[in-house]
């Protein structure tokens, strides 16, 4: 699970292009202007690359990627 957490941080760091997200995993990424509606596509491609998991855009809700912590729980749910 620790691995998955690291992967989630790596993915979000790459998407948001800042390591600030590591300091506050509950930061609302949409509000902070770090992600937009197109980010989902990048996130899907990165998940595919790092975890070999093929997802569709409708697998996510807005909340699933709104904070790093939500994203971690989302990934945990998918990998189980």
């Amino acid at each position: 699970m620790e691995d998955l957490k690291n992967i989630a941080f790596d993915i979000m760091e790459e998407i948001c292009e800042t390591d600030e997200i590591r300091e506050d995993p509950d930061l609302d990424l949409m509000d902070a202007g770090l992600i937009d509606s197109l980010s989902t596509i990048n996130i899907i491609l990165l998940i595919e690359d790092k975890l070999g998991l093929k997802l569709q855009p409708t697998d996510f809700t807005k909340e699933d990627i709104s904070t790093v912590n939500n994203f971690i729980s989302f990934l945990e749910g998918k990998v189980k």
Partner: protein, 385 residues
């Protein structure tokens, strides 16, 4: 006798009277589901008539699509096949393609029924979600009610199956129903009256219908702005009726508009205008196109895939409105504008401009002009000589 939904106070009252059993159930804290289904049957008979060609076509459509969806649902549980998925999708496209082609086939102009464009979205969403294994259970009645749900049948908003059935199977406590569904629904319907039967009707009567036959530069400009406001108030008014009626039946249908004329660029505009349509296209066409073309290497760069995705999605959106030249032109125009917006948002000019004090106001004025030109194309005014 056939009634058109939400076009005047009289039909609004007639259709609202169908909601009374549902309201009573809501007051008693009971589930509205089955009363809503019965109301839907009556409403559909009022919209399309009972022994009419339109109703027969609707029923044939419904029977064929139900067989297709249920058949694919049971097939997909046993085996996975992209070949079958492809052909199921193609089959589900046929009715709308046929009906939209009628403008070029005058002999078949009896084809068509109210809501074909919007009902099709519900059918396609089900097929795609079945393929993605997002639908665990598909009770026949729930599916049928989702496809034929009357408040939003003629022009949306386009709901999603999972969201819809969650509301549908929810027993709402009495107080919550009164405050969060009934009153909110009535408020929305009243706002719809002001928008559609008030403001839009006023603009139509006093500006649009008064336009001279001879087109001059000035008349085109006046028409463009008048039509833009007319379309917003007419469509947002309609959407308020549709969403309000859905709320009263215990379904929180999604909103379609969020102050679209305050958008600062065309990307933002599509997050605010006909939201349920642009979200649908975003989820089921655009992002899948971008993902698949990047996965299979058609495009090396994401930028290129995204820009081609905009052009493709918006052109199809135009075709979906109708196979008429001006709808297609409208789609292509919106696609090109999104590509230009994408270039603009990634430019240094934008980053600098964003920091300036006049960013909001100037962006909004410019964006509104781009929107209005789009609406002028959409109206067909330039195309009727």
């Amino acid at each position: 006798m056939v009634f058109s939904q939400y076009t005047n106070i009289f039909s609004l009252i007639i259709f609202s009277s169908l909601l009374i059993p549902g309201i009573v159930a809501g007051f008693m804290g009971k589930r509205i589901k089955y009363l809503g289904m019965i109301a839907s049957v009556f409403a559909l008979c009022m919209i399309m008539g009972f022994h009419t060609l339109q109703m027969y076509q609707f029923l044939i459509f419904l029977a064929c699509e139900s067989i297709l969806i249920m058949g694919y649902y049971f097939f997909n549980k046993r085996a996975k096949s992209d070949f079958v998925y492809f052909w199921v999708l193609i089959l589900s496209f046929l009715p709308i393609i046929l009906i939209k082609s009628v403008i070029y086939l005058p002999r078949f102009n009896f084809l068509g029924f109210v809501g074909i464009s919007y009902v099709s979205f519900r059918v396609w969403q089900l097929i795609i979600e079945i393929h993605d294994n997002h639908i665990e259970k598909l009770p026949f009645l729930d599916m049928l009610y989702f496809i034929t749900f009357f408040p939003t049948i003629s022009s949306g908003p386009i709901d999603r199956y999972q969201r819809f059935t969650k509301d549908l199977n929810n027993a709402i406590p009495r107080n919550e129903y009164i405050n969060d569904y009934l009153f909110v629904g009535i408020k929305k319907i009243l706002l719809g009256v002001v928008y559609k039967l008030g403001i839009a009707a006023f603009i139509n009567l006093y500006v649009i219908e008064k336009m001279p036959h001879e087109k001059t530069f000035l008349s085109v400009v006046i028409y463009m702005y008048a039509y833009t406001f007319y379309l917003f108030f007419d469509f947002a008014g309609y959407s308020n009726f549709a969403v309000g009626t859905s709320y009263i039946l215990g379904i929180k249908a999604p909103e379609n508009f969020n102050k679209p004329f305050l958008a600062r660029n065309m990307k933002e505009f599509w997050d605010r205008w006909h939201i349920s349509l642009s979200k649908w296209f975003g989820d089921y066409l655009f992002s899948r196109f971008v993902l698949n073309t990047l996965r299979n290497g058609t495009f090396k760069s994401k930028k290129m895939a995204v820009r081609c995705g905009y052009l493709l999605t918006m052109t199809i959106m135009g075709l979906w409105h109708g196979f008429t030249l001006f709808y297609v032109a409208y789609g292509v125009y919106q696609g090109i504008m999104l590509v230009i917006t994408d270039f603009y948002l990634k430019s240094k000019v934008y980053r600098k401009f964003k920091k300036s004090g006049c960013y909001d106001i100037v962006s909004r004025i410019v964006c509104f002009q781009i929107v209005a030109i789009g609406m002028l194309i959409f109206s067909g005014y330039l195309f009727n000589v």
